[in-house]
Amino acid sequence: MTVQATIPNLKPPSEEKTLEIVPFKSTLAKHDLKLVRNPAHTLQINLGFLCNQTCLHCHLNAGPARKENMGSDTVNEVVAYAQRCHFDTIDITGGAPELNPHLLDLIKKISPLAPRIMLRSNLSALKDQMNRLIEPLKSHRVVIVASFPSLNLNQTDSQRGEGIFAESIAVLKELNAMGYGRNGSGLELNLVSNPTGAFLPPNQEKTEKRYHQILDQKWGVRFNRLFSFANVPLGRFRQWLIKSGNFESYMQKLVSNFNPCSVEGLMCRTLVSVSWDGYLYDCDFNLARGVYMSGKKIHVSEMPGPPEPDTPIVTADHCYTCAAGLGFT
C-alpha cells in the first residue's frame, strides 16, 4: 500500500537564505563545548530511501518513487564491518526497511554480532510484509521501534497519510497478539512519537505514561517504551516548514531551546551511520544532508574499525534539533 500525506498549498515559500542562524559550532564554542566522538557502540544501517509512505516530517524525503536501496554486496560489506567492530546495538532504518529484499538476510547475519538488533518500522510496511517477516523477527529477538506520532487520528493521518492511524493500531494489536510488547515475552515493542507540526515534542516520560494509559484503555494496545523526538528541519519536513511559513519561527525555536547539558549525551557521539550505498556518516541527519563522517567520504568496506574517539563530528543548523530541550537519542 502506498500512502501519501499532502503538503497543503499555503503561503509561498519564504526566502530561506535570508534567515541568519548562529552556526551550531559557534553556539557550542560560546558554551565552551566540543562535539567529538566517544567510543562507538551503535551501528545504524539505513537500507534506503524507498518507502510506502511520504510522511511530511521525513528528513530523508523517502517515498515510493525513491530508487536508493541497499544491495546484497553492500549488505555483506556492512556485516563484515559489524564483525570488525563489536557494536552493542545495530539499528536498522530506512525509508521502510521492510521494502528491502535483503532485510532478512541482513538480520540473519548480524544477529550473532550484536546483543541488540532494532528495526525501525512505519507499521504499514510491516503489515504488508507480516507473513514473511514476523517469525524471523521474533526468533532473532529483533526490537521493533514503531512510528506512532499521536494518539489522535487526524494528527497522525495529516503527517503520515490517510488511514495510517487505524492501520497502525491494527498492526500494534497484531504485534501484541504475537507477543511483542507483552511482559515476559522478551519481544520489545517501542514507539516513536514525533510532533505533527512545527512545534517541539512534549516531555517523553509524561507522554509515555499517557500513551500507556490511553492505548491500553481505548484499544488494548501494549508497548514497552516511548521515545519522543523533535522533527529535524531537513528533507520533506524542511520543504513543509518553508511552504507553510513556519521555517523561520521553527529554527528560532530550536536555537532558543538549545540545552548545553544535552550535548554530552548526543547520539552522534556513539553512533556510526551507514547509508544504502555503504558510505559512513556521523548520524542519519548528516546522511540526509550528504555530510560524510568527519567530512571524509569513506566506504564501509574501507573502514578498519570504529571511528577514533575525540574525532570531531561535523555539525550544521539541523544539529539544533538534537540539542533542543532534553536531546535526541
Binding site: S150, L151, N152, N154, Q155, P195, G197, F199, L200, P201, P202, N203, K206, T207, R210
Partner: protein, 110 residues
Amino acid sequence: METYYKPEDLPKFEEIGKEAPELARKFFDYYNAVFVEGELTEREKALIALAVAHAVQCPYCIDAYTQACLEKGSNLAEMTEAVHVVTAIRGGASLVHGVQMRNIANKLSM
C-alpha cells in the same frame, strides 16, 4: 499603528517590568509557579489556560497557549473541546441571567 495586536510583541511581555520591577517580579514568579505540575499536570493546566484565553479573548494568550498545548502533547480535538467548555460556561453565564429577567418581568407583570 496598523494594528493593536502584533505577534512580535508577545516576547516583549517582560518589558512591563521596566517601570514597576518589584510588582512584575512578584507577578511573574506567581505566574510561573502556577504552571508548574502539581495536582494538575502541565498539559491540563495549558488546556485550562487555552480555554480561559478564549473567554478573555486575548490573542497573545491564544497564540502562546495553542503552542503550549501542542508542545505538552495535547491534540486539536482536545483543544477544541476545551474551547467548547469555556464557551458553554460563557454562554451559560448569559443565559442563567435570564432568571433575573424572568424574576423582574414576573414582578412587573399581572
